[in-house]
Symmetry: C2
Subunit: 373 residues, 2 copies
């Protein structure tokens, strides 16, 4: 087996900086990315995959010595939905994250210390634009497709609007075109949990420790929103943790409590708290319509579009995607919409491999007829 | 206007203690309670109202100098749903709370100091049984009705099973018969937020300060679950706080963020953190069926039952009440079920006054035909 490796690309613009949506300049910017499959001769078979909030560039395959494959390995690979015998698949870690791309935990070249909260607030647009530089660097003029679930879906959608001439098709999964009050509220609680932890030190905790308790609480909230009421009930119900009966104290009684603690604690080790603040903020800031007319915003979209939602996803409910379908249709964009019936909630985009694969393959095959010779 | 006042009743059993479900003894126990209207000659017109998690005995009327009336003033009073010209309405603060009844912030007579975490874990059953002593004290043999929304509904349900001969009718609103994995999970996050605050001091913060940050975060989570996606969107959407544009920093941008902070901060002042732990635990422990057959558990229920749910209540979804309806019907209990179409989420039981009043009046009038002369 060939192991996959993460590469990096650092912008070398003059003057080494990118102007962000806020007006602030950031640079140099490094993007960590992986690729799978081979770019064809006319460079027309590239698919750009955008990851979700806590994801990374390692979308598929295995790293040497790893216990798990990439986060979307079920979807990307030979004979899989994104078939690497046909397509050249790219996934880059977003700026603001902590998985190899420039983010708040990176060293600020001006001070020689981690940015912390001096890192500028980045937006979904900034994250998307930075990856356009990577695609240019790879000498790809037009993507066969760009695709994302959850936060990745916002980026794929943004790409279709920012760079309409550079993409043949767009796949938007379990996503939205603007963060709603509830989505903002849930993120704000997670942020407050982190920022309330005295070990957060105003974002300047690097080298001192970790805001571990706040991070764990924020992740627990996250996990509840990624599952559904039904999937939690099916997985845990009221099962007790190796106990004959209730403990009548404040230790854990129920498996669901232990599970959340486990997910919370392990998250502390694998993700940077400040990155969580920055990326959740980027999501909350996202409003493709910018309080205006969504249909008008989508008027230059040239790509064919596939939108997938999941019945039990209460974090990004289907009705939001249906509004997008309507706006695409009003622009005569060729859009397919499928709502998959499942209990797995928002996490479905990571676990509903078979049902998604069928839809994705069929959609890509159709696009391929026009694009690939 | 006549102001309402909170009275107290302290158990004077020998040996002054009540044995809790856990086997632990607690006592003496004080219950704070209020009454509205007059008890009739044959003591047959008493309605016992149970409050929700952070509620109190002050269900209706005005306290001298108060800015707001009792928490269910829209429902209780002359010519209102629970018409105090006909009925004698009682509401007591639950044990474990901090609104006048014995709870973790009360002084332990054995030590002369606040109980803190040495207060025993109480259950919905314990809370219900303790109020039976109050009803006995008031020399009421049989209640005309008992009623509760949310946690109060669990208590009303428990009463109907524990003391079937002592109640003519039961009203269960926005409630459930067993806490599900998601309900437990949401509470556990709130508890972890409190217990992660260094100012919680293992529950021993009395006289030292307050675990204010943890409390605020836990309340923010609570508020999201009490509203619905639609009601949050209608109330806040993406409205900015007196700003022309996004701030590109980690201060608040959106009204929904400010609102949650306000609700979180004000909660710190009005509720005891340990009480929140105890009452949320009592809720999570609640399983009327005790993993058994709900129908069998309800077999001795004699009361007429009205169950009300709300379409947008995702914390206590209607399907759970429908399971109760089925189990009541299997026991030939006269049960009416109404799902009110509203966007107000779980909070509906506090705000949907008109629609609930209509149902409640009609139901009580029917019961009155048989009970009141």
């Amino acid at each position: 087996m060939k192991y996959t490796e993460t590469k990096t690309f650092t912008f070398a613009h003059s003057p080494d900086e990118m102007t962000l949506k806020s007006g602030v300049k950031l640079g140099p910017i490094t993007l960590a990315y992986e690729t799978y499959g081979e770019l064809n001769k006319d460079r027309s078979n590239a698919i750009l995959v955008f990851h979700a909030l806590t994801g990374d560039a390692h979308a598929a395959g295995w790293h040497d010595g790893a216990k798990n494959p990439g986060w979307w390995d079920g979807m990307i690979g030979e004979a899989k939905a994104f078939d690497t015998s046909k397509y050249f698949v790219i996934c880059a870690n977003v700026i603001g994250s902590c998985k190899g791309s420039t983010g708040p935990a990176s060293i600020d070249p001006k001070t020689g210390k981690p940015y912390g909260l001096s890192f500028p607030v980045v937006t979904i647009e900034d994250m998307t634009v930075s990856q356009k530089y990577l695609i240019d660097h790879l000498k790809i003029k037009k993507l066969f497709a760009c695709v994302g679930g959850s936060m990745g879906g916002l980026m794929a959608l943004k790409w279709s609007v920012l760079f309409p001439e550079t993409v043949h098709s767009v796949l938007l999964i379990a996503t939205n075109y603007r963060h709603t009050a509830q989505q903002i509220a849930l993120h704000e609680v997670a942020r407050q949990a982190i920022m309330s932890d005295p070990s957060w030190y105003g974002g300047d905790y690097y080298g001192k420790g970790l805001p571990a308790r706040g991070m764990a609480v924020s992740r627990m909230i996250g996990h509840i929103t990624y599952m559904s009421e039904k999937s939690m009930e099916a997985k845990f119900g009221r099962k007790l943790i190796a106990k004959e009966k209730l403990g009548y104290d404040f230790s854990h009684d129920f498996e669901v409590e232990n599970y959340l603690k486990y997910r919370g604690d392990s998250f502390v080790q694998r993700f940077d708290a400040n990155s969580y603040l920055y990326l959740s903020k980027a999501l909350d800031y996202f409003d493709l319509s910018e309080e205006g007319d969504l249909t008008a915003v989508l008027k230059n979209v040239k790509a064919k579009v596939l939108i997938i939602t999941f019945t039990s996803d209460w974090l990004y409910p289907s009705y939001q995607s249906k509004q997008m379908v309507k706006a695409f249709k009003a622009n005569d964009v060729e859009v397919s919409f499928v709502e998959i019936d499942t209990n797995y909630g928002h996490d479905s985009f990571l676990v509903e491999i078979e049902s998604q694969s069928k839809l994705v393959k069929h959609f890509l095959d159709n696009v391929a007829k026009d694009v690939l010779l």
